[in-house]
Structure formats: structure tokens, C-alpha cells
Symmetry: C3
Subunit: 262 residues, 3 copies
């Protein structure tokens, strides 16, 4: 498996165009995160153009945070286009346990074979049909409680599944990793998880899904660690986090990665 820094260097050399269909809360920070990492984000959702645009993009990230019926349809259209062209796409099932509407939309999206599904433990449990306890975007379950469900979901969907938390868990159903990078201030900034998906999507371009996802999580978590050093709270943390995404070198990321095979 490639080390995390090499994977980051490949992503930056590609600077892929990443199509994001995300929620209104995450729009700006997700674009800034993806841009600071070294990729080129673009937000396009209108049914009149979403398929044509997906044809230009090298990867797609879909996030159901502030869903409605028209956006759900656009998400399906874009995901279908990526699947048809064998291009990678990432699904973030925000708050999927909260309403029947979200469960229905996620069922349809999963049928379009996402390359990676990333959520918190409650979301992955809900997606696996086990009814996680999460209410909104926050998890009410520990990562370890979702590991078996993550493996089942991965095997069933042919996807890499990543469970975010203090220690992330990443699995393709056969091989699994834990990524211990990150900082406790990260969940105190809204939409950072949503923003991570744009970074994962960028890493997936031309790289194997499992190692690319692990590398993206290790890189993202290390940016959090570096940002926390001088932060006085979630405001200054967010500023320093964008700076760290931009300034972390591949060498930094390889040496700071806390990845273990389970």
C-alpha cells in the first residue's frame, strides 16, 4: 500500500477537477478545503447541465445534507454519469437515520455503486440497516460499534466504507485500516466532514480506492493536528486548518501518518 504522502503528491500533480454536489452549509468550506488541498472544485447541480458537467469532471462527491427532491435527482444523474464512465464518486449519507426521505434517497444512490461511502458511526449503522442513534450531523455511536456494519456494507456495495471519528475505520470488506490522525476540535467546526469528501474524491483519481481513502484521511487528520497547535477555539482552528492543508508536504504527511492495519 502506497504511503500517504506519495498519494498526496500524486493528487496534487493531477490537480483533478472534482464535481461537488453538497449541502448549503458545506458549499464554501468544502470548496476552500478542496482547493487548499490542491484540487479544483466545482459545484454544479441543475438538472439542465449536471450530466454534461459530470462528463468533464474526474471525480464526484455527493452529500445529502440539505437535500430536496430536485437535488436528489441531480445527485442520481451525476452519479449515474460517473458510474457509466467508470469514474470514482463518494457518497456522504448525512443524517440518513433521521428521516425516511433520506433513507430512500440513499438507497437509490447506493444502487449506483459509490466508490467510497464515508459517514460517522451513526450514519454507517443506519445505512447498513441497523438503525444508528444519530439525530442530525453528529454521531451518537462510537466508531467501533459500526465496524462490523462497515465491513458488511462494503462487501454488499462493492465500496470502500470509511467511518469517521476520533480514530477512523476504513474497510473494503476484506482489508481494514484504522487512521488515528485528527483533533478534538474538528467536530466543533461545521461541515468539515462534508469537506473531507471532496479531498477523498480528489485522491481517488488514478489511485486505488482503499489506499487513496486511507491516505486522504491521514492527510486531513494531520492538518487538524497542525491547526490545533495554535488555535484558541473553532474560529482560529478553521483558519489554521485551511493553511495546514495548503502547506503540509508529502514528506510531512508520510512521517505523521498514524495508520494501522486491523
Amino acid at each position: 500500500m502506497a504511503d500517504a504522502g506519495t498519494s498526496l503528491a500524486k493528487m496534487r500533480a493531477t490537480a483533478p477537477l472534482v464535481h461537488l454536489i453538497t449541502n448549503f452549509v458545506a458549499m464554501n468550506i468544502a470548496a476552500n478545503v478542496t482547493l487548499a488541498a490542491g484540487a479544483s472544485p466545482a459545484m454544479v447541480h441543475a438538472r439542465e447541465e449536471v450530466v454534461e458537467f459530470a462528463g468533464l469532471a474526474q471525480a464526484l462527491s455527493v452529500n445529502i445534507g440539505t437535500l430536496d427532491a430536485a437535488w436528489a435527482e441531480a445527485m442520481e444523474m451525476a452519479a449515474q454519469a460517473m458510474a457509466a464512465n467508470s469514474r470514482p464518486w463518494v457518497l456522504d449519507p448525512v443524517g440518513v437515520g433521521a428521516t425516511q426521505f433520506r433513507r430512500n434517497v440513499c438507497s437509490r444512490l447506493i444502487a449506483l455503486r459509490p466508490t467510497v461511502i464515508r459517514g460517522n458511526a451513526s450514519e454507517i449503522l443506519a445505512l447498513a440497516g441497523l438503525g444508528g442513534a444519530g439525530r442530525g450531523a453528529d454521531s451518537a455511536d462510537p466508531v467501533t460499534a459500526a465496524e462490523a456494519s462497515a465491513r458488511d456494507l462494503a462487501a454488499r456495495c462493492g465500496a470502500v466504507v470509511a467511518v469517521s471519528g476520533p480514530v477512523d475505520y476504513v474497510t473494503d470488506g476484506v482489508h481494514s485500516f484504522r487512521v488515528a490522525n485528527g483533533d478534538a476540535l474538528m467536530p466543533r467546526v461545521t461541515a468539515l466532514g462534508c469537506s473531507l469528501n471532496g479531498v477523498i474524491a480528489a485522491f481517488l483519481v488514478g489511485q486505488p480506492a482503499l489506499s487513496a481513502t486511507v491516505a486522504a484521511l491521514a492527510y486531513f487528520g494531520q492538518a487538524g493536528e497542525r491547526a490545533a497547535q495554535g488555535a484558541n477555539g473553532p474560529g482560529s482552528f478553521q483558519v489554521a486548518f485551511l493553511d495546514a492543508l495548503y502547506t503540509l508536504s508529502p514528506q510531512d504527511v508520510t512521517s505523521g501518518a498514524r495508520v494501522s492495519r486491523t
Copy 2:
């Protein structure tokens, strides 16, 4: 009346799930403000799920900033659900004086009995039927010009009415308070007023509306005072403001509150 710090401590102990239906400008900062204060924000607006989600939330904040017909309908559906469950909800009538469409939507929302109505002086005057002079989100009238209208509106609607400005005015139609916390840089950051409503909504959970609103304003204003100390302009102010919301202790807030009964 409970002191402001005690009210903050209760809110943080509850960490309520606050449902926000707000405008596109405020989405990210309102979520970050609510999160930094210690509550759990979630943005949901689709008619397919808004009532189901409102059933999970402990409080609701509605802001008409970037309104359209579909969003207005979702706001009414969510407010109705909160009213039916006797849960608190806050109305922010952004720019209500500007167009007939906004006046119509606010009339329908007020009939659903908001717990708190918060706006600037021009908005409260417009809502009370007196035609304030505000154009967009900025007030063209002083707070004192809206005090009588605020009392009338409160008595008529059974709501607490808060008028934001250099010195805020809060009334339930019978008892009234002034809150003198705050800083002149606050109106130079967009959507801070919108974000305040998420904080008020969080304070309302399990607390009396009048004292909870006063406490939320005193807390919010003090975060502004602390943020202004090292700020070089609205950019650094906003960063420090989020940090201050996160780091202010109940003791800080009680000792710094500048609240007076009128």
C-alpha cells in the same frame, strides 16, 4: 430572573438539537455559531422531510433572508410542527419591510405563534405595521424608535420580541429589558444577527423565554466584546468571535452581562 451565565450553563448541559431553516448567506456561519456556543445545529428544509425532522428537534429557528415559495412553505410546516408539540421556535423577519412577499410570509408565520421574534428596529417596525425604513438586512431606524412597537407586537402575538442594535431591547409586552453588550464591528460581519437566532433557540429549550432571550443576547454581545479586543477588521473579528463563543465561561458571562430592567 436567572443570571445569564446560569442560562448558558443549562443550554450547554442540554446541548439541544436545533433545527435551522435559514438563508444561504447565513447557513455556514449560523451552524458554526450554534456549534461553538455548545448546541447541535441541523439544516433541513425539504417538504418531504421537514415535519419529520422537526419532530426530532428541540427548538427551531426560521429566517426569511433568501426566501422563495418552497422555502416559505417548509418554514410554515416546521413552525406548525413545533407549535403543535409546544416546542420553542424563533422568527427572524429579515428585510420584511422590503417586499410584499416578505410581509405575506411573515403574516402567516406569526399566526403560528413564534416563541421569540428577533429583528432590527426597521424590521420590528415593519412587522408591527408601522413601515420601518430598512432596505435590506440593515436597519435605518434606532432601537428606541421601535420599543413601543415591540411591546405591542409582543402583546398581540404572545411572543418575546427582541430588537437588536447597539443596545438591544427585549420585551414580552409586560416586562422589558435592555442589553448593552456588543461591539460596533458586529454589524460589519454578514449574517451575525441570523446566527444569533440559533443561539436564542438553543437557550429556549427548557428555560423561560424572556430570561433565556436576555441571557442569549448578553452572551452573544460579550463574545463580540471579547472578539473586538484583538481584531483588525471584520475578518479577524469573525474568527475571534467564534473562539469567544466557545471559550466564554458561565462565570464570565454572568459577570460581564450589562442587563437592565426598563
Copy 3:
């Protein structure tokens, strides 16, 4: 031609109400930028009120970044209202080369005679019918490659056309200027170009279009230069940029402007 600082002082003295119909990524930063510069931004897009609101505004900025059919209709309605009242409006043709839908919408908008069209080189080439190479919001062409097209477009549309890049190019089809202010970190922050349009719109109120646009670009670029001095990456840059927009004086802007007639 008025110097840039004088133009800034006039804008601040007017503090115009600027109507912005922009994309979801830019909403917050565009409002903060316009506010920090000294104008009063307001975002309104519903077909139920967009014409009534446009009647109150002194200038309009339209940005097609996250377009859909309903928003496109609102943009046309607002632009028509401004044109009918001889008030200035600015068009930002984000990613116009990417899809047929964008090209169609821009054709209809250009027929409504924008006062200023501002884009990157790829967008201006695409708009001029020459098929620029841009994919999303980023330009794949140098500014100089778009200068002849910019002059043609300006002459054909009766608009001032501004091409953003390391050195900006501004033309009314007859007279042309280069503005060399700016910093390499600016394109690493998302939606700064979109935000610039709110500032241009504010400068246009009561000022000649060509000199107002040049002045707005010189001011905006200098805020970038000042922000870069202490920045550690795009996060701290963005914070310092808002501070600089707020604190730069007319004298600063006049003495730092790097404007040349071509």
C-alpha cells in the same frame, strides 16, 4: 480618469444597496466582502419579489456559478429591472464554457446589456464565441489571450469587459487598462472573483463604468497584497483580506494602484 482612491471614497460615501444574485459557494464571502468594502449587500432571488427588490437597489451583481432554471429566470428579471431603470449591473459568467445551459443563459443575460462583464480569460473567450479552455471556475488561458476578444465583446455589448488574472485587463472596446495589483494566493480562496463583482457593482453607482471598474480592481488587488504580507496560507489570507478591504484608505489605494493605459 479619477484616481482609484477617490472612486473608493465616493463609493463609501454612497454606501449603496447592492443586490446580489450569486452562487451558493460565494453567498457568504461575497456579502462579507461587499460589506467590508463599505457597501450594503442584499441577496434576493425569489421570482415573487426579485423585481420589487431590484427596484430598491442601486446596483445589481449576477453570478451564474450554481445556476438552475429558476435562478436563471430570476437573474433575467432583475437584470431587466435594472436596465429599465438605467441602473448598473455586473455579469459574472462563471464556467460559461462548460455547458450548453450556461451558454444559453449568458446569451439571454448579455441581451439585457450588463454594464460590466467580468470573468477569467477562459470565460471571456467562451463568451466571445471563441471556446476558451476553462473547465470549472479556474482559467486555463492567460489574460493576454483574451484581450482582443474582450475588446470585441465590449464593443458588441456596449459593456465594460474585465478579464481577471495576475494582471487584469479592462476595456470598453476603445480604451483599455491593465491593473497589476493582486497576489498569487487570491485564486487559492474560493469565490473571491465572484465577491469582486459586488464591489464593482458598488463602485458603479454614480461613477463612470470604465474608471469605476479599474478603481475597484486596483482596490481589490491591493487588499490582496496587504493580506498576503502576514498570511500562512489561504485560510489566514482570507481573514486578512477582509480586514484589508475594511482598513485600506482612499490615500492607500491611490498611492498603491498599479494601473496603466494600454
